[in-house]
């Protein structure tokens, strides 16, 4: 018999329990903790020298405030308000970014048409959109939604354009030679190929959207995390500003590690290096 029949599996399957144990281990030995520790130490030193004037509260006092905001439930009320705005704005940004990006990636005309607008959009700081939308829409829901939409859609469009441009023509030709139906090609060839780019678009777009949303709340809102930061600023409560900002950062990290990275890993399970990372 020839070599053809000699085929053996090349790797063992990874069980769910093993994967879970691995992620716990990864969390405990996460190098990022060292950086957190370093920041806390520096913070403590600075507050020791400047703390007398109440300008830089110590980490301990700040965490007390965070605790207070958490147990009274205040944080979750404000977070809820911010999240609603964020989700509406970001969904619109995703829709617009995907349409613009797919058009740019697939047609020369549309690429030329949108190119400059998108570059302009990428380069303007979120602050500009926040200020403009507050001036135009005031404290209405539309203000943060518009700021989020225009601040984050260019990032989504750029990622989508690259995804469409990277589609494998050879695979599409293969599907054509085998006369595979159009819908099946979209579902099984195009979407999976775009998926990593869609996820990248979500990750970058979401960060920008959060920032734009909080900025808008700082200037023109009556609730939300950004509003709380401004409120504390007006009260001259540095502790409050720090507490709300840190909580905001934590939510971002939870979304990143809890949703976006696992999703990316799940959808990349057919790729050798992302799904079977060594620690």
């Amino acid at each position: 018999m020839s070599v053809m029949t000699d085929v053996s599996p090349t790797s063992l399957p990874i069980t769910t329990t093993r994967r879970f144990a691995r992620s716990i281990k990864r969390l405990i030995f996460h190098k990022g903790w060292l950086a957190v520790l370093m920041v806390l130490v520096i913070w403590q030193i600075i507050s020791f020298f400047l703390g007398g004037h109440g300008l830089v509260p110590s980490p301990a006092r700040t965490f007390a405030t965070i605790w207070e905001v958490l147990v009274t439930g205040e944080f979750f009320v404000q977070l809820g308000d911010s999240l609603v705005r964020l989700l509406i704005g970001f969904s619109l940004a995703m829709a617009m970014g995907m349409i613009v990006g797919v058009l740019m990636g697939s047609r020369w005309f549309w690429n030329e048409f949108f190119k400059d607008i998108v570059i302009l959009g990428l380069s303007l700081p979120g602050l500009v959109y926040a200020l403009l939308s507050v001036v135009i829409f005031g404290t209405k829901l539309l203000a943060p939604v518009m700021a989020i939409l225009f601040a984050s859609y260019p990032f989504i469009a750029v990622n989508m354009r690259e995804g469409v441009k990277a589609l494998d023509k050879d695979i599409l030709d293969m599907s054509r030679a085998y006369k595979v139906g159009k819908w099946k090609v979209v579902k099984q060839v195009i979407l999976p190929a775009l998926l990593p780019h869609i996820l990248a678009a979500i990750r970058t777009g979401f960060t920008i959207a959060w920032k734009a949303s909080v900025l808008t709340e700082v200037f023109g809102a009556t609730s939300g995390i950004g509003y709380m930061i401004r409120f504390n600023f007006q009260m001259f409560a540095v502790r409050g500003i720090l507490a709300w900002s840190l909580l905001f950062g934590c939510v971002m990290l939870i979304i990143e590690y809890g949703i976006l990275i696992p999703a990316e890993r799940y959808f990349a399970r057919w790729r050798p290096h992302l799904s079977e990372e060594v620690i």
């Binding site: 020839s2 070599v3 053809m4 029949t5 000699d6 085929v7 053996s8 599996p9 090349t10 790797s11 050879d170 695979i171 030709d173 293969m174 054509r176 030679a177 085998y178 006369k179 595979v180 139906g181 099946k184 099984q188 060839v189 999976p192 057919w270 790729r271 050798p272």
Partner: protein, 256 residues
């Protein structure tokens, strides 16, 4: 008289101003193995792409004549495996299920041909988990599982090392004799063409048929047999003639 499986009449294919295929005409008999040889860029792959409907025809005709109720299905094995990386090997075969074949029948065929190419145990693997040779075999199983009227193969073994390629050629001949598929096999390797084919079509630099000969050597063929060597040297003579014509043409154009 054997039935015709592929009929090509006065086929012309241009890419812009460039003529890639020039009035190519030939018929292929059912269950035969025809090898098409020529230099890079002579239009060999384009010929297969036109037959597969990937490239439109400029003029003329190129069709797969349906018989045995196989609705003229074409299996295509490419130079690279062209598997979908996010699907397992078996799912890759399921992906090409032709219209009119129900899912169970197709899955059974997929399993059968994966076994035939020696990939039974690898059917739930993703392509990246397989070696290049195994991926190429998966590509062959994919082409076979639609039970095609004609199998198009475009230098399927040129990316493999010589030992693997040799084993694959042997295996391909075995499958061909088992399944009686009509095969059009494109290669730039003259020796491979003579070793595999019933018939050899050589394209010249202008995308015209230069030589069209029957290879009536006994099988199995051995590269060290006297008859094989004689036949092969005849083919090489044709090749040399083609090159000298080319050199004259270039000289006439003033190119060194």
């Amino acid at each position: 008289m054997a039935t015709t499986a592929v009929s090509v009449q006065d086929l012309v294919k241009n890419f812009g101003d460039l003529r890639v295929l020039d009035k190519v005409s030939f018929d292929v008999e059912e269950s035969s193995l025809t090898t098409i040889v020529g230099f890079s860029g002579c239009g060999k792959s384009t010929l297969l792409n036109v037959l597969a409907g990937i490239e439109p025809i400029t003029s003329g005709k190129a069709e797969v004549v349906s018989s045995k109720n196989r609705s003229a299905r074409l299996g295509y094995v490419f130079q690279s495996p062209r598997l979908l990386p996010w699907l397992t090997i078996e799912q890759n075969l399921v992906f090409v299920r032709p219209e009119g074949v129900d899912e169970t029948t197709h899955l059974e065929r997929a399993k059968k041909y994966l076994e035939m190419v020696g990939l039974k145990n690898a059917r739930n693997k993703y392509p990246y988990q397989l070696s290049g040779g195994m991926q190429q075999r998966a590509g062959i199983a994919r082409a076979l599982c639609i039970e095609p009227a004609v199998l198009l193969m475009d230098e399927p073994f040129s990316h493999l090392d010589e030992i693997t390629a040799g084993a694959m050629r042997e295996e391909m001949l075995r499958i061909w004799q088992e399944t009686h598929r009509t095969i059009l096999f494109v290669t730039h390797d003259m020796q491979e063409a003579v070793e595999l084919g019933d018939r050899l079509i050589m394209l010249d630099y202008h995308g015209r048929i230069f030589v069209d000969i029957k290879i009536d050597l006994p099988r199995p063929r051995s590269l060290t047999d006297r008859v094989f060597i004689n036949f092969y040297s005849d083919v090489v003579k044709h090749l040399q003639k083609m090159q000298s014509i080319r050199a004259e043409e270039l000289a006439a154009l003033g190119v060194n």
